[in-house]
């Protein structure tokens, strides 16, 4: 099972590892997965209140290399996007970009879930209604 170079690069040199201040109202946090299942992703976005754009994104992930790479890629894609654009990120985009093997597709689904969860957290904090997501990992 050889992984793609892009995947290995995201694993070896992950982008945007870290923690944003979840106390701030313009920071949304998504925590998805479970330790017993072998992967937990925490993805955070910081939204510029003036432009409405995602100005920063950070992650921390407990999981396999594909899970780490998927979340690293997700944070890269999120930066500079509006919330609406961010919602368009589909797990299959991640699968394609990283060339994930079939047994690792759930990692990309988890990353999409993490994006949605972070956006939801941001929405709720800012008095907007929660979105209902139809896609769930596993």
């Amino acid at each position: 099972m050889a992984y793609s170079e892009k995947l290995i690069d995201h694993y070896s040199n992950p982008k945007n590892v870290g923690t944003l201040d979840k106390g701030k109202t313009n920071v949304g946090t998504g925590l998805v997965g479970a330790p017993e299942c072998g992967d937990v992703m925490r993805l955070q976005i910081e939204v510029d209140e003036v432009s409405g754009m995602i100005s920063d994104a950070k992650f921390k992930t407990f999981g396999c290399g594909s899970a780490i790479a998927s979340s690293s890629l997700a944070t890269e894609w999120l930066k500079g996007k509006s919330i609406d654009e961010a919602l368009l990120i589909d797990n299959m985009d991640i699968v394609e970009e990283l060339n994930l093997p079939p047994v690792k597709i759930h990692c990309s689904v988890l990353a999409e879930d993490a994006i949605k969860a972070a956006i939801n957290d941001y929405r709720v904090k800012n008095g907007l209604p929660e979105m209902v997501s139809e896609k769930k990992a596993h």
Partner: protein, 406 residues
Amino acid sequence: MKLELPIYLDNNATTPMDPRVLEAMLPYFVEKFGNAASRNHSFGWVAEDAVDYAREQVAKLINADSKEIIFTSGATEANNLALKGVFEMYASKGNHIITCTTEHKAVLDACKHIEKQGGQVTYLDVQSDGLIDLAQLEAAITDKTILIAIMYGNNEIGVVQPIREISNIARKHGVLFFTDGTQAVGKIPVDVLADGIDLMSFSGHKMYGPKGVGVLYVRRKNPRVKVTSQMDGGGHERGMRSGTLNVPGIVGLGKACEICMHEMESEAQRLSAMRDRLENSLMELEEAYVNGNREHRLPHTTNISFKYVEGEGLMMGFNKNIALSSGSACTSASLEPSYVLKALGLGDDLAHSSLRFGLGRYTTDEQIDFTIEAIKSTVLKLREMSPLWEMHKEGIDLNSIEWAHH
């Protein structure tokens, strides 16, 4: 000595073949190609002599008689033959088998098959150190019990079961005792007489011999044990295993046994010293746990969980340079982590975080040094990336969080 990469530390999965074994095997492919069952010409005699010699080499290693050695295609076949063969042969005596939850899949799945055939199987739980509870074993015996099947050394955690105590219990109740010796034979002294073993399986490729050849030891005296053959044909191997003998494989297995016989003792000392050094260095990391009993175990194996990092993710950090196994689910297509680790009572999180180290004949101190450094630095790097580690450091009880279960 220059360090060559990659480093192989997965010797419980398979061992490289010893070049001395290959040398012994080579003449039996092209020049001495005879069928050991050809009784009427010299080609057959040469092959038969080679098999007989190998049978002696194998028997000697485990203190058996050469007539008690049944060659098979490997340990999986030997396990199947022992379990199903005893179940069929002793059907008039009973239908109950006792085994334990940490056995190899070849044993557990053969037991499942037997259950479908109307057999009763008791799967003993193990204690948190991986050892079975002898009182529980004895209490499980009924008047229908025909066989106790408990492995010698465990493939994942290396724990060595109290074989002599188990065989004493079996003897006392007139029950046969079968042990899967795949990980133990050739690594630690195994003596079928002193250990009171009635049947034992093992394999060539776990002891620096070739793949595709294994053994079922079947006791001939006190008591005389028989198994119903599981493959019909020419009646080879005293009628217990038909099929033309794999002469080169058998010659190789014999040679492998002979080498182990001579080198096992010093090798075990060398490996356990290296294993302990590896283990002690890695245990300097916070939240690292050795899985299984540390006293009663194989000299070359250790299994360690590094909490808050995931096993496959961990391996990716060094798998270009170091070959290891993990108990993590992610290494297989299923999402279940190692059933052996779970049987010890480990939570799924710790089972997902485990690495298995299997040292071997060609493991060097330099390789161990490199491995210690690589694993330590990867664990530290991944913990910096782990939300669970951050929570742990903040004093958050991970059990208090409502996780979105898949």
